[in-house]
Amino acid sequence: MNVWNWLAVGGAAVLALVVVAEIRRRTGARASGRRFFRHPTAAPAVFVLAFFVTVALAAPLVTPYQPYFQIDIARLANHPPSTQNPLGTDPLSRDVWSRLVYGARISLGIGAIAMLVAVTTGVVVGGVAGYFRRWVDATLMRLVDVGLAMPRMFMLLMVVALWEHVPLAVLVLLIGLTGWFGTSRLVRAEVLSVREREFVAAARALGAEPGRVIFRHVLPNAAAPIIVSAALGIGNVMLLEAGLSFLGLGVPSPAPSWGNMIADGFPKMAVAPWCATFPGLAISLVVMALNAVGDALRDALDPRKETA
């Protein structure tokens, strides 16, 4: 790793700090913003996320090698961390740091996109069920019951293993489409409770049509728990992806994802522990940050504290 790479990493860290400070400044005027940052882990968590996102976006700047590049299979395989290879090299003499950074693109991307798919589906299904109630609700919720009765991991394994060569995009879609059942229940419960509130009755009394009632009055007030569950859900998806990759059924191998980096390093644990340790640490750190942000958001967006 050369001087420029180190500088770029430093720059990413500084940028992440700036992001934290900026978010803090912008939300400081609102009580919810202050409640968020009162959590001791909230600011470090935002920093961790901002740092990993920055590094992932600026991957070519902060890494010395391409993720697939085998530096020197004869002399530089399983090399421990050094100034050249800060996180060591793997059995194929690839730079672990470079793979970790490019892996962040895949792992974070899968987490974010799959969650987006899941949340969108969940909000639509839950919102429709909760607003229209009666047979629409009953039918959709029985569907959700079935979805929840199939262990997610199991379902994914089946689909992925039985269809040969699942492309990454399909994998992401599959993860998302198996993850909305819980969200839809949550949204439905929220919608059911919000639609009984008096401001919704007031809007109807004023002659607002259903669309306006749903999008302006019901959903914005049901958003808090959805946002929280989305933050926690990204972490879950990342762990799921890691698990799938670990079983050899996730992101197809040479592409670096944190999950298959662990899987690749796993057999060499005794010889080159850094291969599996660092990606595992990265996942833990990011998931931990997401969980911390979720916890802080839960407090910050709690509507009971809004009126206090």
Binding site: A31, R34, A308
Partner: protein
Amino acid sequence: MTEPLLRVRDLKTYFVTEHGSGTARAVDGVSFDLHAGETLGLVGESGCGKTVTSLSVLRLIPEPPGHIRPGSFIEFAGRNLLTLAPRELRAIRGNQIAMIFQEPMTSLNPVFTVGYQIAEAAIVHQRLSRRAARTRAIEMLKLVGIPDPAQGVDHYPHQMSGGMRQRVMIAMALVCHPKVLIADEPTTALDVTIQAQILELLERLQAELGMAIMLITHDLGVVAGSADRVVVMYAGQVVEQAPTPELFARPLHPYTEGLLASVPRLDAPPARARGRLHGIPGQVPAASDWPGGCRFHPRCPYAWDRCRDEEPPLLDAGAGEPGTHTVRCWLLTEPQRRTARAPLP
């Protein structure tokens, strides 16, 4: 006059506000006495500090964010409750001083039978056996007028109506025959016909058991019917204090006067029944931002320079013995400034 049972002096209970930047002086230098066997009414609108005062007596303020300032003094049976060790304080809670609360639904634990909840204080304080405790619980249910107490003892709170639950709360509070009962808005959540039942019950129990009652309420009607003496609170302070007939006949503080003029009255003569109410303009300020000088001056129709600059002490209104009727208002020094009130804008 005999020694008071409960003597509160200069009680200050402050709260750290939500973002930790300010201090809400919810109760700010409150003093009053409660005598054995009497009913003391504590009146005021929400945010005036009456509930915090009542919770402070048994040190039930959540800490943090709240704390009772050093220098405050609550004397009961010769001891300062604010400096007691937790163990000694527990021996008084529920045993010598008991409390009932506004919401009989949420104040009862949903997962225990009402019999168990009533008997629990007796089990803890008097080391009653399970069997004796159950018998006691049934006796208490009979005392508070629950039909079929032998069955009711095994019911859960959700199986009862609001009025019945409040009766259970009262039974629970009185199980150890306390000397003082603090009733914090005991009828606010109830319908008027049920409120009448509960007030009558409290009256009867006081005659039978002889405890002193501190009745906290915002309803002047309830105070007029039940209390012997009234303490009026505004902005964390006592602003007027007098025997009930005296206070209603001669309200001296402009706040008390305004409160009385705000309520539409069932006993109003038909000529006065409709028309405008002479209330108080504005609203209670935030506890973190009491106005300087007299705290009521921004809403007071008589305020002049002195009210803005100088905080009045509790002045004696000169009715009967000193201290019988006290008022925190400069008008007592310049009575000619009291003029006819205009109706609210």
